[in-house]
Amino acid sequence: MSFIDYLTDPIAAGFLQATTRLAIPIMLAALGGMFAERAGVLNIGLEGMMLLGAFVGFSAAFVSGSLWFGVAAGMASGAVLGLVMAFYTVRLSSNQVVVGIAINLLMVGVTSYGFRAAFGTGTNAPRIQPFPPIEIPGLAQIPVLSPLLFQQSILVYLTLALVAVAAIVLSRMSIGTAIIAVGEHPEAAETLGISVSRTRTWCLVVSGLFAGLGGAFLSLSATGLFLDNMTAGRGYIALAILLLGRRHPWGILLAAMLFGGADAFQLRGQNAGTGIPYQFLVMLPYLLTIVVLIGFAGKVRDPAALGQPFQRNKAE
């Protein structure tokens, strides 16, 4: 079998397709985290935002019958959590880590209770028909690239577009410069007339929009159902992806794809009957996260004001 035969093989194609599908939720959460961290706020609450987005997105789609309504509702719910985080971290100067942890724990309860309240406690898990894959005409026949990019659901295309938008906003627009200024030197930004609290609040809201979409992707595109705690630590993995991607959209894209690949690999490994206990395969993404942190933690410079609350009256 030649190399190109191998790459167009259905198994390899399935692997590539799964890579993207598994990468997207982490990519979205990491993009959200990027906006928050560039503005100086450590968003530990990504996990809770994703979980709420998955639940609200699923419920809204189930009730309304519209997947797109679900997507919008999931994003909106994440944004509301972003506002809650902003209230604590920007207004009250609470410890950012503590607020994030509290939100994550609260969301485990909220989504689990909400799911039972909305769908009862029976054993029949409600399902919806998820977003179908759409083959882009003309591009869907390219080996490797097409299963990776051109045989995916609409939300994947939307995410890829959002990566590009995020990159443009961050590097080419004045608002991106303002965000970076707030994260690096809030006092100077304030002097220049940029409101630190407003910028951080908006960044957290955007963070919630992205993470909420990432969660909604899990329930509306990847699976078509909601499960208790279905994010399984992806919000935290996203924080590591953020570092690996050097807090830049294109870096995040590549880093998330690497993780998607590891995840797809372990799923394939579970089905292939390799004799390796499945637990060790499931561990792979978590292990990879730690390896990434070891390798990159010291090499990426944090925004100078990351984790630091800002109080305007002190800057004056």
């Binding site: 530990i44 209230f87 604590y88 207004r91 009250l92 100067s93 609470s94 410890n95 950012q96 880590v97 503590v98 607020v99 942890i101 509290a102 939100i103 724990l105 609260l106 969301m107 485990v108 309860g109 909220v110 689990s112 209770y113 039972r116 309240a117 406690t121 399984a232 630590g233 935290y236 993995i237 924080l239 590591a240 206990p277 637990q279 060790f280 499931v282 561990m283 978590y286 292990l287 996260t289 730690i290 942190l293 070891i294 933690a297 010291g298 944090d302 990351l306 984790g307 630091q308 609350p309 109080q311 305007r312 009256n313 002190k314």
Partner: protein, 361 residues
């Protein structure tokens, strides 16, 4: 470099939790507000909040047996709460108590099963030491990665949780599985490994006294030893501690070790006092609840004890509430989360009162 890392995580200008006068009052207000929102959710569910809460209260404290069950449930929460509080005091966020608990519990069960014919006075200390050491070593891994490579322990400890739980799952479905081989669990521990009951006719065991001892020990260590003083200084300002000549790395590592040992003991208590064997779903998230127990207890051992009993009561009573009124017991998880958000939002009251940003340090 390690010093700056720590500082970035625990900025000196931000408050971990409200301090000073009125802290107890603010906790009570927070609990009241959380219960109020819980009541709204119960109404939304279609049940009577008064009936539901009375069932909760009755289930948690209504009889000797329910009180014993509440205190039994508090034991692992006291240990994980102390674990996280000690780490916080030293400026480290140990979110890995869950994994440390699972590994400590498994190791203790292994030792207990390996010594079936030894007297309890040998077996019990051997299990306790094993659980503490294994928990400490797993925690040390995160601590070492933080101090050596600057890897943020917020993420590493959580990843290590997943890895530990998966590894334990492998052990319980493989090498350590009971001979019958039906369920992912070990053999039952022999009677030489068990604790005597504390209240006759209930499940509350001797371990509760050990938990109280741990509270006293942590309290003493934090406020009456040089180690505790240094730990708190490092936690408040690692750079200042470094400049004052403290061995910041060693002190941080010691915080991780003590924290992990306490979390390992939480697992030991569940194995020996509740399940009598190691099982796959040993903990319904004690390691995570311990985080909010530590926060609510203001990272103070006595406060941790009170918060652990409160959350244990919510959890035990929640089951009774579910039976009596049909309201899912996960409601109590919401109440627990809200309590914390309201406690850390204490500044909101000042904020709303003064209508200007709070300037507190």
């Amino acid at each position: 470099m390690s010093a700056t890392k720590t500082e970035a995580l625990v900025p000196p200008r931000s408050r971990l939790l409200p301090k000073g006068s009125g802290a107890l009052l603010s906790s009570l207000v927070a609990i009241f507000l959380a219960l109020l929102i819980g009541a709204i959710l119960i109404v939304a569910w279609g049940a009577n909040p008064l009936t539901a809460y009375l069932a909760l209260l009755d289930g948690a404290f209504g009889s000797w047996n329910s009180l014993a069950e509440t205190l039994l449930r508090a034991i692992p929460l006291i240990f994980t709460g102390l674990a996280i509080a000690i780490a916080f005091r030293g400026g480290a966020f140990n979110l890995g108590a869950e994994g440390q608990l699972f590994l400590g519990a498994t190791a203790a069960a292994f030792v207990g099963l390996a010594l079936p014919d030894m007297p309890p006075l040998v077996v019990i200390p051997a299990m306790i030491v094993t659980a503490a050491v294994v928990g400490a070593l797993w925690s040390l891994l995160a601590g070492a990665l933080k101090m050596r490579f600057g890897a943020n322990e917020l993420i590493t400890t959580i990843m290590l949780n997943y890895i530990a739980i998966l590894f334990v799952s492998f052990l319980l479905r493989g090498p350590l599985q009971e001979a019958a081989g039906y369920l992912p669990q070990t053999e039952r521990l022999a009677s030489n490994a068990r604790f005597p009951a504390l209240i006759e006719g209930t499940r509350l065991h001797f371990g509760f006294l050990l938990a109280l001892l741990a509270v006293a020990g942590c309290h003493f260590a934090l406020w009456h030893t040089t180690w505790g003083f240094k730990l708190r200084v490092v936690g408040l300002n690692a750079r200042a501690a470094f400049n004052a000549g403290y061995k910041v790395t060693a002190i941080t590592i010691s915080a991780f070790l003590v924290s992990g040992a306490l979390a390992g003991l939480a697992g030991y208590m569940e194995v020996v006092g509740v399940q009598r064997r190691m099982i796959e779903n040993l903990s319904p998230g004690f390691g995570y609840t311990g985080i909010i127990v530590a926060l609510l207890g203001r990272t103070n051992p006595i406060g941790v004890l009170a918060a652990a009993i409160l959350f244990a009561a919510l959890q035990v009573g929640g089951t009774s509430m579910q039976t009596a009124s049909g309201v899912p017991s996960t409601l109590t998880t919401i109440i627990q989360g809200l309590v914390v958000l309201f406690v850390i939002g204490r500044g909101a009251f000042d904020f709303l009162a003064k209508r200007k940003p709070v300037a507190s340090t």
